[in-house]
């Protein structure tokens, strides 16, 4: 489904975020990507939907090359890939329903979305997505009136409304309390299982990662340094990913970082 082949990303300031990454992710997999801040986790995710272009190498998503996608093709590729953010990134001034409808933009003619004449089919999809995250009753509230956890679920609904084959979640629980974090991670897992959507989640918390990752990919300095099932992570693996051993207070520290 997602196939990185020697993918390199070098930013304008010279920082190398992905350093010849090879990574293959099968359809329907739930993969958790872990690593320190700056290890390239966010870049990895943003490469998948073309928000960050590859400097060299190749990346194919659902058989299509991301590097060659331009204009309309790129928009359709992005429609295939839903994205969830640490800071939710809702349009706070708009209603919850309108925020979820943003997930339909690539499929709806611009004049219709701009004047708000959404086709019934797309409105139905938006309501379905809201129902799935349990926020149907809040459809007509302003997004800014919702709590953090609710806003993140609206973010998930927006991604679901795209009817994507891939979901990218960039630190989806880093701004949430532990209880809400668990709910959101459970939601993501359920969606992955029930709808068979390939899911990539960035987490810096290794405890959460081992609990939810069927497969964990450890990144360090843009390279893959670990790849294996969540249950099988050992102290030596932690050392390889984070560059030091893992006494309990160091783990705490790694969790507290942004």
């Amino acid at each position: 489904m997602i196939d990185f082949n020697g993918a390199r990303v070098v930013y304008a300031n010279g920082a190398c975020a992905l350093d010849g990454l090879d990574l293959e992710i099968a359809a329907g997999e739930m993969v958790v990507v872990v690593g320190l801040s700056g290890a390239g986790k966010s870049t990895l995710l943003r490469a998948v939907n073309g928000l960050v272009p590859l400097t060299s190498g190749d990346l194919r998503v659902a058989g299509r090359s991301v590097r060659q996608a331009r204009g309309r093709a790129l928009r359709l590729l992005r429609a295939e890939v839903g994205m969830i953010f640490q800071d939710f990134r809702l349009v706070r001034q708009l209603r919850v329903l309108d925020n979820v409808l943003v997930g339909r933009l690539a499929r709806v003619a611009a004049w219709r979305s701009v004047i708000g004449a959404w086709p019934k089919h797309d409105v139905d999809l938006a309501f379905d997505a809201l129902e799935r995250v349990g926020l149907l009753a809040r459809a007509y509230d302003r997004a800014s009136q919702l709590s953090g956890g609710q806003q993140q679920r609206v973010g998930i609904a927006r991604a679901l409304a795209q009817q994507p084959s891939v979901i990218l979640a960039d630190e989806p629980v880093a701004s949430l309390d532990p209880v809400t974090s668990k709910q959101v991670m459970d939601d993501l897992t359920r969606i992955n299982r029930e709808l068979g959507i390939t899911t990539l989640v960035n987490l810096h918390d290794l405890d959460l990662a081992t609990a939810y990752g069927e497969r964990i990919v450890g990144l360090r300095a843009g390279k893959r340094v670990f790849d294996g099932p969540g249950a099988g992570v050992r102290a030596a693996d932690f050392d390889r990913i984070y560059g030091r051993s893992a006494p309990s207070d160091d783990r705490q520290e790694a969790r507290g970082e942004r």
Binding site: R75, R89, V91, L94, D98, R107, A110
Partner: protein, 271 residues
Amino acid sequence: MSNGSSPSRGAHRPLPPRRLRQRWVSTGALAGLIALTAWAGARVGFSLRELLGNLDKLTRLLDDSFPPEWSFWPRLRAPLVETLAIALLATAAGSLVAVPLSLFAARPVAPAAWVYRTARAAMNLLRTMPDLFWAMLFASAVGFGPFAGVMALSVFTAAVVSKLLSESAEAIDPRVLEAVRASGGGWLECVRFAVWPQVAPHFASYALYSLEINVRASTVLGLVGAGGIGMVLRTQLSLFEYDRVVLIILVSFLVVLVIEQISALTRRRLV
């Protein structure tokens, strides 16, 4: 050192930086400004003696002006409505033009670098010309009258609103923009769903603000022949009918004051 409670004795405290050079520069600048002002006064022939010596002329002028000729009011109503109509129309037209212009002139929104630079240049060009210049230009192009006033103030409004609105659009939260883009939204959709909701209250506020300016400006523009109450003011001035002139000034003052108050109250609720 480590017995805590007493503050450190300052052995390692950094000294405040020496400001001597700065002080010399600012003293020099102040002296220069004073000299320049004195020169300007001499250049325009400013004289306190002449000002005080002509006070009696001023009192005679005031004598002629009061009491205002209240009976002139019915002949002011139509021009006053015209002035307000000019202001309203110009605000609507100018603000509408300002929306696309300001979006192109905002870095995070502009679709390409050359669009951004072109829009910036156009905006700066519009803004450097004063409204009176536009009024004279349009008066000679389309003839004296309210239409020239509307055109001039529309351009002026577009300049003011686009400048302010582009600053608001530059300050938007770009993270929402990335989210809409990630969902597959194109430029138009990004503007509609990420940019517009953030700047719309500012836009309403700036449009109201320009209405305030336009009511005031359309009075003045009448003086150069662009219709409205200002044109009546010019006629009465040239006829030395100072009791009527005072009435016109009073009425304009009241109208501007009322519009400004309403607008300011509304704007406070917007942003």
